[in-house]
């Protein structure tokens, strides 16, 4: 089977779906690999590295022509879709539920498509879970970006020239990204507070040395398959009350709250931003899903009411080397789970295949 690894085309994206190390493993397993030239450049993987690992470097057109399977991180753009051939298989993050038109045009090409973001959150699939691996890095990097952007330092320091009080970091949403953000901010010496709708995150926050702001949850289940459900209006009001005091003292706020398949919950209104400290920074990792902060805009940095608001999911992109490493490993695990060197197994009974195979030979299986 011939795998084609494409260079990412979206703006600012520095990662690559497969790293030279993984290429080597795939080739050892009997796969063939062709890599688009410059694909790994931004993640510090030179073309030579791929060649040493056993891949051949080709241009985009050749890859589209020769490959049986096409690998990317982000969804294929219309240009790319045009070049697809019937019977080819593509693997990437498609977010199929929010992109029905794109699914349509893919189906028309008569290809098969697996979506990596649809991998179910089951224990067995943990090593293929790209969301976890990338969100983890996002949590780390969000704190680094925050530390870089604020005009204060994080730790407490008692020096001859006076005492610097520690920065206060507030984190909304204690999922994978939130937890890593707590850990990193704590490491740097900040006072860290966090809140989440799922009550089990209290213990998790504390296990990392953070302080949890507890908001009495709504009645009934707050989560489903590891993900949060949407919060009630009443919950939102109570949450504001509980968190406001911390928000108005915070030097850095990182928001990561998301509900799968929906717009991200709105947690910080403009009114709240107005009352925040002059010079505070908000990093909204949910900006692409509509943002947890009313003022945030995707991939933009805004200063309003003395507060710098950074809307991004790009954080993992900036640690592209590690992010690509992990992504590649996930894809490798996914690929070897679904196929061997001679082809795919198409075992539709199997949960992971079933959940991720969005389009099969031009038929859309999942909506």
């Amino acid at each position: 089977m011939k795998l084609g690894i494409l260079k990412e085309t979206s703006d600012g994206e520095k990662r690559v779906a497969i790293t030279p190390t993984i290429v080597k493993k795939l080739i050892d397993d009997g796969y063939e690999c062709i890599v688009e030239n410059g694909a790994g450049f931004e993640s510090q993987f030179k073309d030579e590295f791929y060649e040493t690992a056993g891949a051949s470097i080709k241009n985009k057109a050749t890859i589209f022509k020769e490959a049986d399977v096409l690998l990317k991180i982000n969804a294929f753009d219309p240009d790319e879709i045009k070049n697809l051939k019937k019977g080819q298989i593509i693997i990437c993050q498609m977010y199929h539920r929010s992109n029905p038109e794109c699914m349509q045009s893919l189906a028309e090409k008569g290809i098969s498509a697996f979506s990596l973001d649809a991998i179910p959150r089951i224990t067995r699939a943990q090593d293929m879970d790209v969301l976890s691996s990338q969100n983890n890095l996002a949590g780390y990097k969000a704190v680094i970006v925050g530390a870089y952007e604020t005009t204060k330092i994080f730790p407490l320091m008692m020096t001859a020239a006076g005492t610097i009080t520690p920065s206060r970091v507030l984190i909304y949403g204690v999922g994978v990204a939130g937890l890593q953000a707590i850990a990193t901010a704590k490491r740097l010496g900040a006072i860290v507070e966090a809140t989440d709708i799922r009550p089990e995150t209290k213990e998790q926050t504390e296990s990392l040395g953070g302080k949890f702001i507890y908001v009495e949850p709504d009645e009934g289940e707050t989560s489903e398959g590891g993900y949060a459900k949407e919060a009630s209006e009443d919950y939102k009001r109570r949450q504001k009350e509980a968190v406001d005091a911390s928000l108005f003292k915070a030097d850095l706020v990182i928001t990561t709250a998301m509900v799968p398949g929906r717009k991200a919950p709105l947690l910080i209104t403009e009114e709240q931003v107005e009352k925040m400290k002059n010079g505070a920074v908000i990093i909204d990792l949910a900006a692409m899903q509509g943002g947890n902060c009313e003022l945030s805009e995707p991939n933009k940095t805004i200063i309003k009411h003395g507060v710098k608001i950074i809307g991004t999911t790009m954080s993992p992109l900036s640690v592209s080397t590690n992010a690509s490493d992990l992504f590649g490993k996930n894809v490798y695990n996914f690929l070897t789970h679904l196929s061997d060197k001679d082809g795919f197994k198409w075992d539709l009974e199997e949960e992971i295949t079933d959940e991720t195979l969005i389009i099969q030979d031009g038929t859309i299986r999942k909506q």
Binding site: T123, R124, D127, N136, L179, S207
Partner: protein, 460 residues
């Protein structure tokens, strides 16, 4: 009494005390046992060869034969027995001692009829010896597996009390009446044996060590009564020493099991069984351990692997585990951490935790690298981990974690698992590892428990 013999007895008494003292410390224990044994040998030889009276060679020969028989059997059995069978052997030997004491009483009784004091001493020795004998034999057969289930007659408590009171009343009457009816003595003997049996029968196998320890101190007492009778100092002191030390030991053992003695003995009558405690639903039985045993095991191990999990983070025990690791390393133990990729609740959770307490990166091993190493590992210490060591991932296709790679701690020689309870972890499933033969559970908050292990280790 002959002067030399007195001195020999004195020396023997002292060796008993010193030997027992030395037995209380891991480094000196073995030598202590030898010290006491030497003193015992001295006392026995002295008794035989420095005897004042006229003794026929026949008797000497008999004694010699008896000793040779006892020595050979005792030696062989003790040498051959498997490690796991030792407690039952101790019980058996204890029974022998009790029987010996009872027999002495039985023999001596006719010589002393009419001396109320001596008779009471003889009766006391005989009764206690018999109880100890019968009880030990039952304990032995329980440990042995011959007698499996605790047997419970109705109104046990009352029945037992009635019997013992009857024995005492009868003995008192006997002394006062000055009777010399040999048959009656046999009756008492029989009643005591019965009581011994009834005493132990309802107690569960897991509590046997405590019972043996108690019977052990009984036998000591019986020996001391013998010493009174013959005005023999070494029997007296040796017996009393074992009597008191044995009693304290019994309490210490109960304490280590976190149960009062009364619960062990009388709890049995209440119908509560020792294994009933495990709180598990699979019905398998678990072994509990304590900080001190854990410490000893690790101290004398060559290689220890620590498996941290989410519980370590919850307890914030990272500093303690690091201290523990450093101490073990300084004692020449090889220590590694086995990090499962999804241990904890976020990727790298264990790394963050252990880096905070400055654990050397070189001591952390990834799952693939460490899995083959468990086979030659003496002790695995699992701290607050659960799913990541759950063999269901290998064995049980219906389990939600089936197919996840796990740390193969099962292959290690001994497994110690620290968690607070038998509750499941994140995946919400039972872990059969806890019921493994090689596994001991160290219950308690990780920080508390490890702190205790650490201080036990320091005292070694």
């Amino acid at each position: 009494m002959d002067f030399t013999l007195s001195i020999i007895y004195l020396i023997a008494s002292i060796t008993f005390v010193i030997g027992l003292k030395m037995l209380g410390h891991p480094e000196t224990a073995r030598r202590g046992n030898l010290v006491a044994a030497a003193g015992m040998t001295l006392a026995i030889l002295g008794t035989i060869f420095l005897f004042d009276g006229e003794v026929s060679t026949k008797v000497y020969a008999l004694i010699g034969i008896a000793i040779v028989i006892g020595t050979i059997i005792g030696w062989m059995v003790a040498k051959k027995v498997a490690m796991t069978k030792m407690p039952e052997l101790v019980s058996m030997f204890n029974g022998m001692g009790g029987a010996s004491a009872a027999l002495i009483g039985l023999i001596e009784f006719p010589h002393y009829t009419g001396h109320p004091l001596q008779i009471s001493v003889i009766l006391a020795g005989m009764i206690i010896g018999s109880i100890s004998f019968a009880g030990s034999i039952i304990a032995w057969s329980k440990l042995n597996g011959t007698m499996r289930k605790p047997i419970r007659l109705p109104k046990y408590n009352i029945l037992n009390n009635v019997i013992i009171l009857a024995i005492i009343a009868y003995a008192v009457y006997f002394v006062y009446s000055g009777s010399d009816n040999y048959l009656l003595v046999f009756a008492i003997f029989g009643a005591a044996l019965l009581y011994g049996i009834l005493f132990v029968i309802p107690i569960g196998g897991a509590d046997m060590p405590v019972v043996i320890s108690l019977l052990n101190s009984f036998t000591g007492l019986a020996a001391a009564f013998g010493g009174f009778l013959y005005d023999n100092m070494v029997m007296l002191t040796g017996g009393i020493l074992v009597g008191s030390a044995g009693t304290i030991l019994t309490f210490a053992m109960c304490k280590a099991m976190n149960r009062p003695l009364s619960n062990v003995i009388f709890g049995a009558f209440g119908g509560e069984s020792a294994t009933g405690e495990s709180g598990s639903t699979t019905g398998g039985s678990i072994k509990k351990t304590n900080p001190s045993d854990t410490a000893i095991l690790m101290n004398y191990a060559n290689k220890v692997i620590i498996v941290p999990g989410y519980g370590l983070a919850v307890a914030q025990a990272q500093h303690v585990i690091h201290e523990l690791e450093e101490l073990l390393v300084s004692r020449g133990v090889e220590v590694k951490y086995a990090i499962h990729p999804v241990a904890g609740r976020m990727p790298g959770h264990m790394n963050v935790l252990l880096a905070e307490s400055n654990v050397d990166y070189d001591r952390l091993s990834e799952m693939e690298d460490i899995n083959p190493e468990f086979a030659n590992t003496d002790v695995v210490l699992v701290v607050g981990a659960n799913d990541v060591v759950n063999p269901a991932a290998h064995n049980d296709p219906s389990s939600p974690i089936y197919g996840m790679p796990i740390l193969d701690v099962e292959n290690a020689k001994t497994i110690i698992i620290n968690k607070r309870s038998m509750k499941p972890g994140y995946a919400g499933i039972e872990n059969e590892l806890f019921f493994n033969q090689k596994t001991s559970m160290l219950f308690g908050d990780a920080k508390d428990a490890l702190t205790k292990v650490l201080s036990e280790l320091k005292n070694m």
